[in-house]
Symmetry: D2
Subunit: 349 residues, 4 copies
Amino acid sequence: MASKPPIRAAVLGASGYTGADLIRLAARHPNIAITALIAKGHAGQALAQVFPHLVSLDLPDLVTSDEVDWNKIDVAFCGLPHGTAHTEIRKLPERVKVIDMSADFRLRDSGTYSEWYGGAHSAPELLKGAIYGLTEHYRDEIKTARLVACPGCYPTAVLLALLPLLKTKLIAGEDLIIDAKSGVSGAGRTLKQNILFSEAGEGLSPYGIGNHRHVPEIEQELSLAAGATVTVNFTPHLAPMSRGELCTSYVRLAGKADAAALRKALNEAYAASPFVRVVEEGVIPATQHVRGSNYCHIGVFADRLPGRAIVVSAIDNLVKGSAGQALQNFNLMHGLDETTALEQLPLFP
Amino acid sequence: MASKPPIRAAVLGASGYTGADLIRLAARHPNIAITALIAKGHAGQALAQVFPHLVSLDLPDLVTSDEVDWNKIDVAFCGLPHGTAHTEIRKLPERVKVIDMSADFRLRDSGTYSEWYGGAHSAPELLKGAIYGLTEHYRDEIKTARLVACPGCYPTAVLLALLPLLKTKLIAGEDLIIDAKSGVSGAGRTLKQNILFSEAGEGLSPYGIGNHRHVPEIEQELSLAAGATVTVNFTPHLAPMSRGELCTSYVRLAGKADAAALRKALNEAYAASPFVRVVEEGVIPATQHVRGSNYCHIGVFADRLPGRAIVVSAIDNLVKGSAGQALQNFNLMHGLDETTALEQLPLFP
Amino acid sequence: MASKPPIRAAVLGASGYTGADLIRLAARHPNIAITALIAKGHAGQALAQVFPHLVSLDLPDLVTSDEVDWNKIDVAFCGLPHGTAHTEIRKLPERVKVIDMSADFRLRDSGTYSEWYGGAHSAPELLKGAIYGLTEHYRDEIKTARLVACPGCYPTAVLLALLPLLKTKLIAGEDLIIDAKSGVSGAGRTLKQNILFSEAGEGLSPYGIGNHRHVPEIEQELSLAAGATVTVNFTPHLAPMSRGELCTSYVRLAGKADAAALRKALNEAYAASPFVRVVEEGVIPATQHVRGSNYCHIGVFADRLPGRAIVVSAIDNLVKGSAGQALQNFNLMHGLDETTALEQLPLFP
Amino acid sequence: MASKPPIRAAVLGASGYTGADLIRLAARHPNIAITALIAKGHAGQALAQVFPHLVSLDLPDLVTSDEVDWNKIDVAFCGLPHGTAHTEIRKLPERVKVIDMSADFRLRDSGTYSEWYGGAHSAPELLKGAIYGLTEHYRDEIKTARLVACPGCYPTAVLLALLPLLKTKLIAGEDLIIDAKSGVSGAGRTLKQNILFSEAGEGLSPYGIGNHRHVPEIEQELSLAAGATVTVNFTPHLAPMSRGELCTSYVRLAGKADAAALRKALNEAYAASPFVRVVEEGVIPATQHVRGSNYCHIGVFADRLPGRAIVVSAIDNLVKGSAGQALQNFNLMHGLDETTALEQLPLFP
C-alpha cells in the first residue's frame, strides 16, 4: 500500500548490531527507503562487507555523516554508542526526525546523564524535548515527537512488566529486586575479551552489580509511575546466548493484591498493545519464545514469601529492546499501523 | 493484494519443528488461511501449548486428520515423519494439493525407497506422479504438480551447489566427497539422548557415516544431472547449534575447468533465482548468515590439490531446507510470486 | 600412598550424569577400587557403551544391584533418582557405608519428604541417622557417619553462601530472595523435551517457580543456622550451558552489617576449607571459572538498596554440587585428606 | 613420589589459552615447580587477574622475560604466538630445555617457514636441532632433545590418524582430503571480531581454505612417512564450541586394504600409547568424549565410494593439541612416566 512517496531514512551506526537489526527490519518496511548508511569507521565499504547476512539487499555503501545529503533524508535512526550519539544528533537539520537507540536522550535530567555516563551533555535543549520511546506507555507523545529516545533493552523489559503495577498501586515502590539475564549481543560488537566465544560460552556471571547504566533510566520511569522516588536493585547477568533478555522482578505486593490481580492489571494495560502479551497462568516466559521478534512476554507468579510476587518478562534485546521498538515508534510517528514491518513471528528453535 | 479468496491450508505434523516453521511463515502469507493443524498425539491442545512462540497466532486447535473437513482444504503441507507421511497422504482427496516435507515421495523408485527406509511404499502410484521440489531446478514441473516432494535439508544444500556443475560438465561425477554439518534441529523434536543439550552441546561428531538416508536422494538427482550413475561420499556431522547446515563438497574438475568457471556456471544457473546467491570470490558462506531465511549461499574455492575445487553451500535447514522451500513451491503452484512470505532477512546475530 | 588395601566402591546409578562424574573422579582416587557399577536398565553393557568418554577405564560391566556381591563392597555411592534411592539403599548391608547423591535422605523430617517428593519414605529409620553432607559445615558428623546425604546442587551453592551469614547473625532470616541459574545437566540424562538442544539452546527461562524441590532442603538448613524458621524465595532458571550453577542471593543486612562484614565472616568461616573461596572485592564469581572442579566461589556486593547486600556463589553442579562433594565426604569418612582426587583445576575455557 | 628436587619451569605466554592450560596441568605435576610466569603485556599482575579460574594456585605474579633469573629455570614452556616465539627462545640459556607450543620450530625448513609465516626465521640453527614433538611418533628423539616443537592442534589430530597408514602403505599419498572442525579456543585469546560470541555462536563456516598455516606442517610429516611428497586438501571449519577438534580424513586405499586393515594398523601403531585410542568398530569419535583430556580417539569407517575409507580423529585442541602434549613431551624428556599429570579423564557432559 506504499502509494505515498517513501520515507527516506538514514541509519547512523550501521556497523553495529543495533544498526544491523534496524536495517534488517526497515529494509522490508513498505514505506521506508533506506537512503544512507552511516558508519564512520567503515565508510566506503559495502554493507555486505560489514554484515554478510544482508548481502541480498541493494543498499548504498557506508558513508560518513558528512557525506550525506541531509536534505534528502526524512528520518534518522541512530544506533551510535552513547556519548557519540548526542554530538551527531545535534548536527542534524531540525526537519529530520530522529529515532535514537542510544542512551543519550533517555534521561530527562542532564545532570543524571553526566553522573552515569560521564561528560557533559552537548545538547541539553534537545534532551528537554526528547520523548522516552517506550511505545506502549508514551504513544501519544511519540506520535508528534521530533526526537524519540528509545529505551535500553533492560529498561524495556523491566518497565513493560512493572509500570502498570506501580501505576495501579498494586505493588510497592520499595524493595524492588530485578535480576536480569541477557544474551551477549547486548554488549555490542566492540571487541572486548569477556564477550569472546571462549570466555562467555558455557558460563554465566553477573556484571555491573549496583552500577549498570540502565539503573537511572529504570528508576526515572518507575518513579514517574509511582509518583515517588523509586530505587531498585538491578543486577544484570551475562548468559551464553546471542539474543534474548529475561528479567525476573521480585516485587512486594501492596495491600491485598495477589498474583491474579497483577496479571489482570497487566492484561488491561496491554489490551490494545499487539506486541505485549501477558502469558496465561502457568505459562513461563522464555527468551527463546520471543527470539527475533518484537514481542514481550510477561508472566506473573505467586511467591513463596507471603506478600510478594514474581514478575517475569522476556524480550529479544535487539528487537523489542532496540531496533524493533525503534521501528514501532517510527510507525507511530508517521501515522502507520504500529505493527508495520514488525509482524515477524519468533524464530524457534 | 490478497483480493482472491485465501487458499485454505492444512498442516499435517504441526507439532514438529518442520510443521512449526511452516506455520511461522505461512501465518504471514497474504494468500493463505491456515485452516487445520493436525498433530495426532496432541489433538485437542492449543498450538501454543506445543509451541509457545506461536502464542500470538489465532489459529484452530490441533486435531487428528480424521477430524478435518477436507472439503474445506485446498492444500496440505505435510511435516510428518517418513513412513507415516505416505500412509496419510494417500488418504487425502485428489483435489487437495500436497506439499510434502517428508522423505516419502522424494525417491522416484519405490524399490530404492524400501531399501533405504524399510517397508513397502503404500502409494507407489502417487510416487510416480510426485515432483521433486527442488524449486530452482524443477520450476515448470512444480507449477502444475499436485504432489510436490520437497527435498531433504542436506540434498537441498548439496544439489543447489552441484547440479549446475554436473549439468555443465565442469566437474566429474566421480570422487565426489561431501562433508556436511548440521544443527541439531535437523534431528527433529523426537526425544533422543544424543540431541539432549548436555550431550550435543560443546561437541561435534559425524553420524550416519556411509548410510545416511539422504544419500539415495542426492545420488538420484546428481545422476539425472550427470546423465550417468553418480555415487557419492556423504558424511554428515552434528554441530552444536540449533539451525543451519553447511556442506563442503570436494569435487574433481573436468577438463580445464577451474574455480572461476564453476562460479560463473553457478551464477548463470541462478541468475533468476532470488534465494540462491553465489557469494563473491573471497567471501565464505556461513550458516549464521542465512539463519532463519530462505537463502542459500554458495561459494567456490580453488583446492590446493591440482584438478580439484571446493564448493561450500549454506542454508537454514528448517527454512530453505524444509518449510521455506515448501512455501516457495506453494507460491509457484498457485501462480504467486516465488518470494511471497519468504522475504525475511537472515537473523544475525 | 595407597599402601592400605583399596576401599571397594560400588556406584548405584552408573548411567546418569551424577554417576558418571563420580566414576570420572573416583577412578583416579588412589584409595578407591571401583568394584561394581550398577545401572538396572543397562545391565550387561560395558560402561563405554553408556559413557564413551570413559572408554579408557578398565572397569567391570554394568550390572543390577542383585548381581553384586555386597560382601566385597565397602562403600556405595548412590546416584539414583529420588524415590528409587531409598528403596535401594535400605537393602544394603549395614557394614556398607553409603554416600547418597539423591534427595532421599536430605530432609530430616520424613513428613516433609512425603510432602515435597510424594509417597512415603521407605526407610525412616535410616533417615534419622543420615548426616547432611554439606562438607564444610558438617565435617565432624560426616567423619563418623554410615549414611551421608549429599546436598542438592542448588542447596550447596546457596548454603555455602548464606549459612555463615545467618550463623553470625549478619543477615536477616526474612526476605531472602535467591535467584538461581543452572546449566542443563542439572536436569539429568532422562529424556525430556525442554532439555533438547534445540529447545534449551539460545534461551533462558525460570522453572519450578515457588515449588522447586530444593526449597525445603534450603529452608531446613537455613532455619537450623538461624535458630528460627526461615522461608525463602528460590527461583531457579535454566541457562544454555551444560555445567555450572550460579546463585544470586539478595539478603537483608542485620544491624549495621555491610558487604565488608559479610565478606569477613565468610572468609573466617572458610579459612580452613580448601574448596570454598571468597573472591576478592571487585571480583565477580562466574560458573566458567569453577567448571569441572570442586571449587565454590563466593562474592559479596553492596546493594544499591540501603540495608541490603548481594551474595553470589558459583559451583559446578555435577562436581561440588554432587559427585565432587560426595568424594570429599568419602575422604572425610575414611580419614583421608579432604582434597584427595579432587585437586583438578577448573577447565577454562 | 617427587623425591628428587622439582624441575623449575617457566611459562612464556602465560596470558594465552595455551599457557593457561599448561599451567592448569603443570600445577598438579608432582615434579614441576612453576617458577616464572611470563606475559609481557600483563607484567606485574597476579595470574588470577588474567585467569580467574586459576585463583586457587599460589604462583608468582606475571613478569617480563627480562625479569626472570634464568639460572633458576630448568625448562621453558613457550605458548607465545609464532614469530614472537623464535625471537624469545633464542635468547634463553642453552641449559634451559625448551618445549615450544608455537609454530616457530615445527617446520624443518626455514624457507618453508618464511613462505607460510612471513619474515625470516631468527634462529635457523635452533630450528635444525628442534625435534617435532608428536609424542607417539618421535619418542626416542624427544627423550634427548633440548628443543621440542609441539605440533599444531590440527596436525596432531591429522597425523595421529594418518601417519601409521602411510607408513604401512595402506593408503595412498594422493587425493588426501581432510575436513577439519575446531572449537573457537583454537583461535586464541586475541580480540578478533569473528570469534565474538555473537558472531561465532550458532554458526559454522570454513576458513583459511587452501592456505591454513598448518598445511605445510601436515604435508612435511605425511611426506616423511610416505617417503614421497604428499600434498593435501586441508579445510578447517570454525564450530560453535570452545574446545575440541575433529578431523574427518577421506583417504584412498592402497591395494586391497580396507577399513579393517586400517583399524588393525592403527591399533598396532598405538598399542603402547596410552593416550591414543582406536575406537571399536561402530563407535564414532566425538570431541565431547575427549574434552579436557589428553586423549585422541580415532575411528575408521568404510566409504560408500569403492577404494576409499574415512578416518575420524578427535582431540581437545588445548590439551592433546597443545599443552597436554607439551607436558607429555616434558615427561619423556625427564625420564618420567609419559602419563604423569595427564591422567585426567574427559569432562562430559
